[in-house]
């Protein structure tokens, strides 16, 4: 058999390291010298962005999830519960592996579902889990909540540095799934499954694995969230907002990309804070909602898509002149 020429190998890493550096620099500078208020906001952004990246990785294979909150909550709870027995690192490892296993099983069970059927089932799953957490109160603490280990004694700056590092980890995973062949394979699975099958792409395996990876990343975000504040209750850890926001952020920033969710997360949070300043804490959601609707209608490819189009137009003009 003749050896086949491989098109990509590590090329993707060479292309993306700049974005990791930018995130590291911006996040790092903010963590060290930023105003405490902005440090707090950025913490929220990193966690939401990891969640949105997890949503996007899954969505690339056509699996539009409305249940990221499920794995977010599982991550928060499993690390908190296991901490007593396994210590910090052990509880994180085992907790996230547990979430991945649940995600793989759940992904396997949902294989036959598509589109809105898939979405509503994932949503139902994320709504059922807080009930489970309430019922299993001897383990989970029930409605009274549970206290996970707090990182760096609650030092927000060090926590932000840690979150930034995990965000870069999520970006690397996302970029790995975006390398040429996997991107094309995911696109075929999403839009032309028959063609994917008859090109030899392991459709079923790829779908389940992406579900597992996506679940693992969502659990990582949940574990980080628990570790920031040191206190979680079911309605907080499994809050449906953790399902809706990643969806909105990815659409706002631009799907099928790593930078899209990050841009979306930053823009959404800044928008929220600015409108809160201008309008006050009651009416601001209306404005934020309206802006999101406008953005998504006017920019179907998200902010990243718009930026790319602008860059393309500019280079065309440059070449002409």
């Amino acid at each position: 058999m003749m050896e086949r020429q491989s098109v990509l190998q590590m090329g993707w890493l060479a292309r993306s390291w700049v974005s990791y550096l930018i995130v590291l620099l911006c996040g790092g500078l903010l963590a060290l010298y930023g105003d405490p208020f902005y440090v707090q906001i950025t913490l929220g952004i990193t966690i939401l962005t990891i969640l949105a990246i997890s949503w996007d990785i899954l969505a690339r294979t056509g699996q539009i999830s409305f249940g990221t909150a499920a794995f977010f909550g599982i991550g928060a709870y499993s690390t908190a519960i296991l901490h007593v027995y396994l210590g910090v690192i052990g509880s994180w490892l085992i907790g996230i592996i547990l979430a991945i296993i649940i995600a793989l099983l759940f992904g396997r069970a949902l294989l036959k579902l598509q589109g809105m059927y898939f979405a509503i089932t994932t949503f139902a799953f994320s709504l059922a889990l807080p009930v489970v957490a309430l019922v299993l109160s001897p383990i989970t603490g029930g409605a009274a909540g549970i206290t996970p280990y707090v990182f760096w004694g609650g030092n927000r700056r060090l926590q932000l540095l840690m979150c930034i590092l995990f965000l870069i980890f999520a970006m690397i995973i996302s970029d790995w799934f975006l390398q040429l062949r996997l991107r094309v394979a995911a696109f075929l699975i999403r839009s032309h499954p028959e063609l994917a099958f008859s090109s030899g792409i392991p459709v079923v395996k790829t779908k389940i694995i992406t579900f597992g990876v996506s679940g693992g990343l969502a659990a990582l975000a949940g574990a980080l969230y628990g570790g920031l504040y040191g206190f979680i209750v079911p309605e907080d850890a499994f809050n449906p907002l953790w399902s809706v926001l990643p969806f909105a952020i990815a659409l706002l920033g631009g799907v099928d990309s790593t930078l899209g969710p990050i841009i979306g997360g930053v823009v959404l949070r800044i928008l929220e804070e600015k409108t809160k300043d201008l309008i006050g804490s009651y009416g601001y959601q209306l404005v934020v909602g309206a802006v999101i609707i406008l953005c998504i209608t006017l920019m179907p490819d998200g902010i990243l898509g718009l930026l790319k189009r602008i860059v393309r137009q500019c280079t065309n003009l440059w070449k002409k002149s």
């Binding site: 003749m2 098109v7 094309v184 075929l188 028959e194 008859s198 459709v203």
Partner: protein
């Protein structure tokens, strides 16, 4: 003679419709085999059954002694059976290189004769080198049909199942496709052709199976089969023969 593709008592039902009704076919290896029959005879369903897209109600399909029934379509492609689609499935956003490269990456290289190590190799064999970086949205029908052939070749197949790859093509494009199929055959890749153009069947095929209503009507050498009264009856009605047209 070594038996390559064996279809034994296969039935496929779509609700109450028996699309394939207890059909048995044994394809000899290394031949160009024709599969003909009037519309609705079950030709495409047979291709779908072989490639794992249609669930068998009964029967068994095996390829070089390996049981295929129950395997998922991507594994069957990997075994060396690649199919084209009657209506080309077009991923508009992707370009030719990406489609060929992906098909190559996920399959194994079975055919001895084909030294395709890269999308460029397949493309130049199919005479579409200049189209490599073209997005599918700007390909025309003959080019799309050509791309389907290139894609199955990129899968490194032992046998390719060609579903009406010449339908809708002009005379010159049909002629080009015929030449290309013969070149593929010379690379010792088996070919199963579904075709309505009888002149293609007679010039191309060594052997032909005729299907009607989900059953095998007859089989044999093309010229003889097309003369047989029962084949002419299912195609044309009682009183006309192919010689009259």
């Amino acid at each position: 003679m070594e038996e390559e593709l064996v279809i034994q008592n296969v039935s496929v039902h779509f609700g109450g419709l028996k699309a394939l009704d207890n059909i048995s076919i044994t394809c000899p290896p290394k031949k160009i085999i024709g599969l003909i029959g009037p519309n609705g005879a079950g030709k495409t369903t047979l291709v779908s059954a072989i490639t794992g897209f249609a669930t068998l109600a009964s029967g068994e399909i095996s390829f070089r002694g390996k049981k295929l029934s129950g395997l998922s379509p991507n594994l069957i492609t990997k075994c060396g059976i690649a199919r084209t689609f009657q209506i080309p499935i077009i991923p508009k956003k992707l370009n030719v290189r990406e489609i060929l490269d992906t098909a190559m990456a996920y399959t194994e290289h079975h055919a001895k004769g084909i030294g395709f190590a890269s999308p460029e190799g397949v493309a130049s064999f199919c005479r579409m080198t200049q189209l490599l970086d073209t997005e599918c949205r700007s390909l025309n029908l003959p080019q799309l049909k050509r791309l389907e052939l290139a894609r199955v070749l990129a899968c490194g197949p032992r046998i390719i199942l060609i579903d009406e790859v010449m339908a809708g093509l002009g005379i010159q494009d049909t002629q080009d496709t015929l030449v290309l199929l013969q070149e593929i055959y010379k690379l010792s890749v088996g070919i199963l052709v579904i075709e309505h153009v009888m002149s293609v069947i007679t010039t191309l095929c060594d052997y032909v199976f005729v299907m009607s209503n989900g059953k095998l009507l007859t089989e044999g050498v093309p010229k003889e089969v097309l003369r047989s009264p029962e084949v002419q009856k299912v195609y044309l009605g009682e009183d006309i023969s192919f010689d009259d047209i």
